[in-house]
């Protein structure tokens, strides 16, 4: 009975998923309601620049509807209060709200993107983050879980170093809990406690394995400092994360710590139900890492490929895995390139293509069908390049499996918008008369 039931559910779920999962960013949470069809808007969480436009951080909305007279144009901007070191963002699981995090001020700005996806409306700000959470600061982004948001942080209010926490808020903005990353002194029972550094960055869930994986970067003292100065300070450069942590997702308890030197950043779980692995890229050592379940079901981590020539200054910062788990796009800040890897064999990725995107590049977002990629330029306000190298853009490309072909290019400096950071996809098809559900 159980097998026949599971088969029946699987058939129905597959039939249903074919209808819904046609186009949406591949980096999103499995708990997030999907866009039905192609994305219509790209939201860009943008850092304000003093003297440019109003100088404030802002949410910029770009129309990407095929055939629209406004295709590739900015259709709305909404500024928030001041400059907060705009960084990552995330929708609530029902895709009604977009939460935008500020790394410097630890404020989170909540927008309604449901009532009118073309014109997101500011709703409220979560303030007093450090006081409320027991000292966590530097909210890195917002990751949707059922009815709540998981907010991985980068720093702490006590010494503004890299020891930090995962924080949970309910969808209506009420604080729920703080989970500190394991340290040598308090590893929470995790294996390899001697490796624990307490640092954090990304947090991603693989539901069917009850697995929560976190990565690690650096604290406020470093990410708010000029990059040139920082790289010349050998003592400061010791204060970067070199670990990833596997957690029991349901209990939020750390289970195993992995040594992953050089600041492992974005985490991308494979989507295939038989693929028990995730990729990450270590920024400072310029390597692709694989965290995977071995033949015994034990989680392991190993570096599986170099990303460019690390000595030349690559700094891979964002990765995007295709929905079929076969292609991985890697954006590298220092050399401004997007590299494409064939990861059909996850243990042995092979670079198959690279393209110069700009003088600097940070985030890369991919549509669910793998045909459209969007890239932005800004890493951190004090880490972005200077002078003519400080290009600030959103560049859209079509991917045909062989090369990236430009579709449109928005100059965020000429438009007086600021530094273009993270992108998320929106659609009117989540409106009152269209699907918003995971059912």
């Amino acid at each position: 009975m159980k097998r026949s039931l599971v088969s029946l559910l699987a058939v129905c779920a597959f039939a249903f998923s074919v209808g819904l999962l046609r186009a949406d960013e591949t980096c999103s949470s499995p708990y997030l309601a999907r866009i039905d069809g192609q994305e219509e808007f790209v939201y860009v969480w943008t850092l304000g620049v003093e003297g440019l436009g109003d100088g404030n951080d802002k949410l910029v909305t770009i129309d990407v509807k095929p055939g629209s007279p406004n295709y590739g144009k900015v259709v709305s901007t909404t500024s928030v209060d001041g400059r907060n070191e705009a960084h990552h963002a995330g929708f609530t699981d029902d895709r009604h709200q977009l939460w935008l995090a500020g790394l410097d001020t630890s404020r989170i700005f909540i927008f309604d993107v449901y009532s009118d996806p073309a014109k997101p409306k500011f709703v409220k700000t979560i303030d007093k983050f450090a006081e409320t959470t027991g000292g966590a600061m530097g909210p890195h982004g917002a990751y949707p879980l059922p009815g709540r948001m998981l907010i991985p942080c980068l720093s702490n209010a006590k010494d503004k170093g890299g020891k930090t926490a995962l924080v949970e808020y309910s969808n209506d903005g009420n604080y729920i809990a703080t989970h500190w990353l394991p340290t040598k002194d308090d590893a929470g029972g995790a294996a390899n406690a001697d490796l624990a550094d307490g640092y954090g960055y990304d947090a991603r869930v693989l539901p069917r394995k009850n697995a929560l994986l976190t990565s690690s970067f650096t604290g406020w003292n470093n990410y708010m400092r000029n990059l040139g100065e920082l790289m010349g300070d050998s003592e400061a450069m010791k204060h970067f994360g070199s670990t990833m942590v596997m957690w029991d997702f349901h209990t939020r308890q750390p289970k195993k710590i992995f040594q992953v030197p050089g600041a492992p950043l974005e985490i991308r779980w494979a989507w295939d139900p038989k693929h028990n692995y995730a990729f990450t890229a270590s920024a400072l050592t310029s390597k692709l890492w694989l965290v995977y379940a071995d033949d015994k079901g034990e989680w392991q981590a190993k570096d599986v490929a170099p990303i460019g020539e690390a000595k030349g200054g690559v700094l891979p910062v964002d990765i995007s895995l295709s929905a079929d788990d076969k292609t991985l796009f890697v954006a590298s800040f220092l050399d401004g390139k997007c590299r494409v890897f064939d990861v059909s064999d996850a243990q042995e990725p092979k670079q198959i293509y690279e393209k110069q995107i700009g003088k600097q590049v940070n985030m890369v977002s991919q549509s669910w069908d793998g045909k459209r990629l969007y890239l932005t330029s800004s890493l951190l306000a004090k880490w972005d390049k200077a002078g003519a190298d400080n290009e600030q853009f959103l560049r859209a490309y079509a991917w045909d499996g062989k090369e990236l072909k430009p579709q449109f290019d928005l100059d965020f400096t000429a438009l007086k918008l600021g530094r273009a950071h993270q992108m998320l996809f929106g659609s009117s098809k989540l409106g009152p008369n269209r699907a918003v559900a995971s059912n």
Binding site: D93, H96, R148, N171, D172, P207, N210, P273, A435, A437
Partner: protein, 225 residues
């Protein structure tokens, strides 16, 4: 529409025929061991919002009274739903919890299941009574209540309070059913506070039972202090 309703019953019926042993088995969709009850914390998310509902006999009651005295698993459903990962799945899991309570006196005495409809026009108390008979023919085991609301006025404030998104599909004859919704199931402690929120990815009966027993142990520890 009849096809959708029939499909919903097929799913629920298939799930409810699982044995207790199958309920607790590990499978490809839930490939992990459930935690030991009491080995972890369930932080308070918020006070479970109150509201006026009708039971399957048409009697009016308040949710805060419904929740009193037992740990409650509250599932928002509508009986016309035929989306396989939504209401039929949720009701199937509640049915598994109910079956588990037939063999566990602690659950039988301390657990309450509530299926609350967000389709008051169709899901009248009479229809819910029929639905209840279809998915739960047992009189033993834990409580399982079925409720609806008198009108959308009462329903809307409840949905808002629980942040439960529901919309009408553009095609009212959609084979999945006429409504879209995010699957949400709530764990509510004896003091009427939400302690966990499940969706299709996390609604595993083994996890729910571990959570229920964690809350029961919490109450036991407090009573000893």
């Amino acid at each position: 529409m009849l096809r959708a309703v029939s499909l919903a019953f097929v799913f629920v019926a298939a799930i409810t025929t699982a044995t207790a042993g199958e309920i607790f088995s590990r499978d490809a969709d839930h490939d992990y061991d459930a935690p030991t009850p009491g080995s972890y914390r369930l932080p308070v998310i918020k006070v479970a919002p109150d509201g006026a509902v009708l039971d399957s006999n048409g009697k009016g009651e308040r949710l805060r009274d419904v929740f009193r005295g037992r740990v409650t698993v509250l599932s928002f459903i509508y009986t016309r739903c035929a989306a396989p990962k939504a209401c039929p799945y949720a009701t199937g899991v509640l049915s598994q919890l109910h079956r588990a309570s037939l063999e566990d006196t602690e659950l039988a005495k301390n657990l309450r299941l509530v299926s609350l409809s967000f389709d008051p026009e169709y899901d009248t108390p009479q229809r819910l009574a029929t639905y209840a008979e279809g998915v739960n023919g047992e009189s033993a085991g834990c409580e399982w209540r079925f409720a609806t609301t008198k009108s959308h006025g009462e329903l809307d404030s409840i949905l808002k309070g629980y942040d439960q998104a529901v919309d009408r599909r553009s095609n009212p004859n959609d084979p999945q059913g006429p409504l879209y919704h995010i699957l949400r199931v709530f764990l509510i402690d004896r003091e009427g506070r939400i302690r966990n929120i499940y969706s299709s990815g996390t609604l595993d009966p083994r996890l729910v039972i571990a959570d229920v027993k964690t809350l029961l142990l919490e109450t036991t520890k407090l009573s000893k202090q």
